[in-house]
Symmetry: C2
Subunit: 236 residues, 2 copies
């Protein structure tokens, strides 16, 4: 059962720079996993939520590196942006940006890549033969950061995009990955989350449901500011 | 062997409205083929070439319907735009727009879709089981239009994006599809065609190589204007 903890969202930007001196890494956007030179597997992710979080962390005084997959968004002000395409490139860029105090994994990383990327375009030659895409598991960026020994950030935050049983799946994900918080949202068709401007967020921060939070449905910028307030309280 | 036919590209827009009274259908952009609610297979296509052709046809006086996959481009001026996501939706939209005098198939249509789209997000559950993506062949929009009996447009033009043996593949494609012209270009890695602003074009319009044309490397707007000049000559 979920206890709604109503956070005061009306405060807007945190006063001052509560995260001055803190280093943050944010991942954002989708990854693209090549099938051949012209085709790829992608996730539906606009990058709006991750970019908004990077901007809000920078506004709160943090030193922010944003590792972003292909998106059509302007770079947030005052943020160092590293652009990548695949999950493996994203992991490399995140590891290169460590150590950090805060890691927010908001990217929609592809769980799988194509096992054998073709060097030439796959052809439909009229033979009727249809290729079978063998997949390989991608590195798990959130789990890798969460279990990174001495280089583990103090606060590791993941997202869970779910289409059913949102809170249960998010709680299991938090335990499996070893991260501190999971921000879960519902991306079922019709929810309007992907590409949209609004997110209803469940924050799962412990094993017991009593500490669960439900944040009211609000814009992605609002979610970003609320998250930065929670992060600032964590470090206060 | 290719005989280079140097077209006068310096003329800019055709004088007057040589295509007034003609109806044209242009397809543009990639298609996205869903794997599950959050993942899809895509092609690398910005839609720049197709959108530029639609704009140039409209500037030459044609009544243009642009059927476009997901792109980040403004709608061309004076063009009716129909937005679709999958190859099957694109075919439906093209057939709904028939009859037409001219069809230009510039979209990078996915040859295959996922055989069984999942209703829920595929989960990486730690079991180590990796899904195997079974593909099905998509409808062939260019071939369908080219072999459409009494509703076949007078002039059907396709594109061939090739990574090797560009002209040979394009000539075979023209024969296989039954279209009138193929505009072929090289999309090998490093050619900068996808997402870029330039295209080197080979126009294949007959079985014999003597009528092949090679257009000098130029911007996609230039290719669009050159194509509209060739189309205008065809109807003159």
């Amino acid at each position: 059962e979920i206890i709604a903890a109503v956070v005061d969202f009306l405060e807007g930007q945190p006063a001052g720079k509560p995260l001055a001196g803190k280093k943050a890494i944010v991942t954002s956007g989708p990854t693209h996993e090549p099938i051949d030179p012209v085709r790829y597997i992608a996730n539906r992710s606009s990058g709006k939520q991750g970019h908004a979080i990077a901007a809000a962390l920078a506004a709160a005084g943090a030193d922010v590196t944003l590792v972003s997959g292909p998106v059509n968004l302007p770079d947030p002000t005052g943020v160092k942006v590293v652009r990548i395409e695949t999950a493996r490139q994203m992991l490399d860029a995140v590891q290169a940006a460590l150590p950090a105090d805060i890691a927010v994994c908001a990217a929609a990383v592809a769980d799988w890549r194509v096992a054998a990327e073709a060097g030439q375009k796959l052809k439909k030659d009229g033979s009727g033969v249809i290729p079978d895409l063998k997949l390989s598991e991608n590195p798990d960026i959130l789990a890798t950061i969460s279990q990174n020994g001495s280089k583990r950030p103090n606060l590791v935050i993941g997202f869970a995009a779910e289409t059913e049983n949102v809170v249960e799946h998010a709680r299991a994900k938090r335990a499996r990955k070893g991260c501190d918080w999971i921000l879960a949202n519902n991306v079922a068709p019709g929810s309007g989350t992907f590409g949209g401007d609004h997110n209803e967020i469940f924050l799962i921060s412990a094993v017991d449901a009593a500490s669960d939070e439900v944040w009211p449905r609000q814009g992605k910028d609002g979610v970003a500011r609320a998250l930065v307030q929670r992060i600032s309280r964590h470090f206060a």
